[in-house]
């Protein structure tokens, strides 16, 4: 009995993991779709979910914001992309990269993969430099290419088509694994082959590198990162209490230069390690999680 208790103490999920799980289930609540091999066609599909969640996933009840953005840009020659831009602006201003840390299903999958006990690549200056790659991907694949082809009335969501591993994992694997979609196999070709190879590479990388896709490739994270300074919700440092010891940066698994910058996913790992108790997760001036309610992992370590 003591062993079971100790095991549970060591393995119980943190609040953030529970929120991630709940968010993933909520964004993929159409469980019937997995059984039938069909995607949801209800009215909620008109609204984008905040995290990266493919709308071709049989369980998805909302639209993918990145796919919607690319399609809106692709249609911008006929109709300005007000709706999707407005939604992304709203998500960025209110939640920012809290979405990456707390609500994104792909982020949760990456974190679970990172739990596999293997040697891990430590973050360093080079990984921080490489984290700028996602901005290049955002500009090229999610904006420039869809825009140029929109001028020819041809919708081309280039990131979805050539890179997105979330689409391959949730959409392709989710749909094609069902016998009802057997005829779709005949439509697969080089695109699917390439995307599956990218997916395999990304999943393998996530085992060794914390949130490899999130840090180096995800254009949605790059987009939300632009709102780091003005997002309502996020981890904040009380400057009057901070001694600049750097304990927060050492504990942080992401490539942050300082707490709350464009790379910070506001996971709150730093809240419990700050010796000055200067860090807290805030929504404006309201403290949602302060040093007195540090993450469960930190509490376990200090016990």
């Amino acid at each position: 009995m003591v062993n079971v208790k100790a095991w549970w103490q060591a393995h119980r999920p943190t609040t953030r993991r529970l929120v991630q799980l709940y968010a993933a289930l909520l964004q993929n609540a159409h469980l019937k779709g997995f059984a039938e091999g069909k995607i949801y066609t209800g009215p909620t599909k008109a609204v984008c979910v905040p995290g990266l969640n493919c709308y071709s996933c049989p369980g998805a009840v909302g639209a993918c914001p990145l796919g919607a953005l690319q399609n809106a840009i692709a249609a911008s020659a006929n109709r300005p992309a007000f709706y999707v831009v407005g939604l992304l602006l709203l998500f960025g201003l209110t939640l920012g990269r809290v979405i990456c840390g707390w609500l994104c299903p792909v982020g949760m999958i990456q974190e679970l993969l990172h739990k596999v006990p293997t040697p891990k690549l430590k973050k360093n200056r080079y990984t921080r430099a490489l984290s700028w790659l996602k901005y290049v991907i955002l500009a090229v694949f999610a904006v420039i290419i869809p825009f140029w082809y929109s001028l020819q009335q041809y919708p081309l969501p280039a990131f979805c088509k050539y890179i997105c591993p979330a689409g391959t994992l949730e959409g392709a694997v989710g749909l094609l694994s069902h016998p009802a979609n057997a005829e779709k196999f005949s439509m697969l070709g080089i695109l699917f082959t390439r995307k599956l190879l990218i997916l395999a590479g990304v999943l393998a990388a996530c085992v060794f590198i914390y949130r490899a896709f999130c840090r180096f490739l995800c254009p949605l994270g790059a987009l939300y990162g632009l709102f780091a300074r003005i997002a309502l919700l996020g981890v904040r440092v009380d400057k009057s209490q901070c001694s600049g010891c750097g304990a927060c940066l050492r504990a942080c698994p992401m490539d942050v230069g300082r707490v709350g910058d464009h790379e910070c996913i506001h996971c709150g790992e730093c809240i419990g390690v700050c010796p000055e108790k200067a860090i807290s997760l805030k929504a404006g001036k309201i403290v949602l999680k302060g040093p007195d309610c540090a993450p469960a992992v930190q509490r376990r370590k200090t016990q």
Binding site: H11, K45, F82, A129, C164, L188, R236, G244, L249
Partner: protein, 255 residues
């Protein structure tokens, strides 16, 4: 102790095996499919459910073994996570040392100037590379063909070299700056010998909850609400709905 060292090695091998098995099976399926198509009709499918099922007979057990091992290792192991935590950033050490010595020695000052110059040179190099790539990307003529595979190939051929050069420049700058920081640290250590080390350096700048920031946020929130309303009126909402209720061929990789 042995168990501790053995498990990561086993899991690394299993992860690599699972990844390689998946990649090999996909490539085998694709090459066999294209060979079949080349030999027969052009409408012959590259992937068939039967062929995929045949490949899964040997790939499936490897993937399942990896999954079982991963879950088992997690359940039986401890959860003391190694999230790739970093060492003490060198800038922090330097800040501490600078605070300790008070008057910064000329060698250390020289290194700081050198680093500034390295960043200027590196920044110029990166800017040139970015300009080179952007010149190609912003030329509409490069994106007029309907042969998308060819367009993508050409695009990668044109933007990968400047991208690679840009990132190489960035990595070189980082490497050179690290060396310079190490030299500055030595200089500061020599100057600081025998003096008391302060508890911590000055805090870094942080985002402040100022009135101006709040105003900007509210203005942008109002803009977001207005854009959403305009989008609903101009049919943007319907576009998202239509796209989302149909299977996205691009996402899945059909075609």
């Amino acid at each position: 102790m042995k168990k501790k060292k053995c498990l990561p090695a086993v899991m690394t091998v299993l992860t690599a095996a699972a990844c390689v098995a998946l990649c090999v099976s996909v490539l085998v399926l694709y090459t066999q499919g294209t060979a079949r198509r080349a030999a027969g009709a052009a409408t012959e499918p590259i992937f068939t459910r039967e062929e995929v099922a045949r490949q899964m007979i040997w790939v499936g057990p490897i993937l399942l073994a990896w999954l079982a091992a991963a879950v088992g290792a997690w359940a039986l192991g401890r959860t003391e996570r190694d999230l790739g935590r970093a060492d003490q950033p060198l800038e922090r050490t330097l800040a501490l040392l600078r605070a300790r010595v008070g008057l910064v020695p000329p060698e250390a000052e020289k290194e700081r100037t050198l680093r500034r110059r390295i960043w200027i040179a590196g920044g110029a190099g990166m800017g040139l590379c970015a300009g080179w790539a952007l010149l190609w990307l912003l030329n509409r003529e490069n994106f007029t063909s309907w042969e998308l595979e060819r367009v993508m190939g050409e695009m990668l051929a044109h933007i990968l070299p400047p991208l690679a050069l840009g990132f190489t420049a960035l990595f070189t700058v980082i490497c050179l700056c690290d060396r310079s920081r190490a030299r500055e640290k030595d200089a500061l250590l020599r100057a600081a010998r025998g003096r008391h080390l302060p508890h911590a350096a000055a805090p870094l700048k942080s985002v402040a909850e100022t009135g101006r920031l709040s105003l900007v946020r509210w203005m942008l929130l109002a803009a977001a609400a207005a854009l959403i309303a305009l989008g609903v009126i101009n049919g943007g909402l319907n576009d998202v709905f239509v796209k989302a209720i149909n299977i996205c061929t691009e996402c899945i990789g059909l075609g």
